[in-house]
Amino acid sequence: MLNLREYRSLGEALRAALERWPNEVCLIEADRERENARFTYRQFQEAALPLASALQGAGLQSGTRAAIIMTNQSKWLISAYAIFFCGGVLVPLDYKLTAAEELQLLAHSKAEFLVVEYHLWRAIMQTERFKDLATRVVLVTEAPGGADLGGANRWEEFIAAREPVFTPRSRQDPACIVYSSGTGGRPKGCLLTHENYLEQCIALTALYPFSPGVRYLSILPTNHAIDFMIGFIGPFTCGAAVVHLRTLRPEYIREAFTRYKITYMTLVPMILKNLERGLRQRFADLPKVRRGVLNALIATNRALTRRRPNLRLSRALLRQVHGAFGGELRAFFVGGAFTEPSTLQFFYDLGIPVGNGYGCTEAGTVITVNDFKPFRADTVGRPLPGMGVKILSPDAEGIGEVAARGKTIMSEYIDDPEMTAQTIVDGWLMTGDLGRIDATGHLQLFGRKKNMIVTEEGKNIYPEDIETAFEGLAVKEFCVFAANYLWPARTLSGEQLVIVLHPEAGQAISEDLVRNLAGRNRRLLNYKRISGYLGWERDFPLTASLKIKRGELAEQIRTNFDRSAVVSL
């Protein structure tokens, strides 16, 4: 792997990687059973440099902000490298946002360039606010011949023959602006520097060294902090290969393991759970004798790997199970949301350790991760090398807010010094999560202090962001809360949102209102939906600028109602 301490920017490190391993495969793009593209490091460079040249020709230079809105695919990484090569600041946006939300974040980020897939661009062009889009240069990938691109360029044709000039950046310069929330309210654009990423990569690869021959299966969106680091920067700076799969279908994920002999993969709990469910079903379908033999082998593996994973032994004992995963799988990583310890244990017993981690975009991805020394299913591991973690105001059980400090913590939320000051205090990142550090230095999480939920798909949902969906409801006022914020619970699973409705004076919550509420709720993406409503008869406490004092309202609700008052939708 590269010695990342020698490099000042992601562009510089990636450029060195492309020159260091010219003949190694760095990227494969697969879709269902098809392979769309395959690149060696040299071929990747050959694809990226003409794009970089054209970007430079169009004015992309040091510090220019350039957004990408794309599903997982090779053009994402090629475009990102070209942007870094030119010294640009990458703004990776979530392709699952609505077109109106994309426009909002494009405006907030002040992105001058945009690389976008055709189907997403078409949706953006159809929005009312499209005329306000200030992006100067738009590149659209995979547009059908003759499609109206509204003045945008075709990515595939946006190339220049002139040799591009590499633009150096310093470690403290911004590398990316990553939005952790704020589409409906106050956008939280985390500014992450080249140093943040390089240091995160150094820490992660110290624990899990990648190398040429390693194949990483990438199915999480590359715009997500986890995949950007573990499915792009990490493998590339180690000479490893990334396999992009352009579908999340379980059937094709299973096929990809065997076809590409996958070594590592990062999942969110929902996908891990789905794999577990499938395996348990297959085990249950085995004839009784074979099932008995399998259970005995699993028990033997569990006993023999109690202290440390032993991949060779596990593969020999459980040949068929490992064969179903391609035979080369070393570990899964899981993060983004709470994972049931029983799921982690299930895979560990099969000889497939799951590196359960914890982090957030503001921390440059990972704060803690399991190191398997020994495996622990009940924690999110120890702090990454170089990361300081402390518990603020711990209660009698040692539980308090988790704070983190280190070289990977973002420098600021762009254009929001107030929120930055609330979030980073004396160099410590206030995570808003509640945890405890045990005697062995492992972090255990118990719930949240902040008003938000995380779904099992790893999506962070902030109530303020979905309130726009309910604007115009026939009530005097309303407010959305995370149920566990209203009624604190020491759990991170099954988190839900509830809406508090304050009807006009003398009015009740009518059937019509509930029908309207349910209809609007249904138009939200399934993981953003509220699960119930609560009637409230008093005026909401407001600030001088007429914003709801959410903390105070929550306190009033907590005093007057418990969870049983929530009516399910």
């Binding site: 392709y95 579908t247 999340l248 279908r249 379980p250 789905n274 798909e457």
Partner: protein, 80 residues
């Protein structure tokens, strides 16, 4: 070419079969996440089965924001 009505009927039949629920319990306007108690990954699994049945390809993003059988059938119909 089949009509939207028959496509919707086929989708309902396939969903009932896939998730082992009686067909008569499902209606075109049902929210399949809620009605079947499934997550988005399980919905994608159903989509794979639907693709094989209709011999079409629906990218994952086509399912984004779709949560009822009727809308799903409409998306399929566009590709038949």
């Amino acid at each position: 070419m089949s009509s939207l009505q028959s496509t919707t009927e086929e989708v309902l039949r396939l969903a009932a079969e896939h998730f082992k629920v009686p067909r008569e319990q499902l209606a075109p306007d049902d929210d399949f996440f809620k009605k079947l108690g499934i997550n988005s990954l399980q919905a994608l699994d159903l989509l794979t089965r639907i693709e094989h049945h209709f011999k079409i390809e629906l990218p994952d993003y086509e399912l984004q924001g779709v949560s009822d059988f009727r809308t799903l059938a409409e998306r399929i119909q566009l590709r038949l």
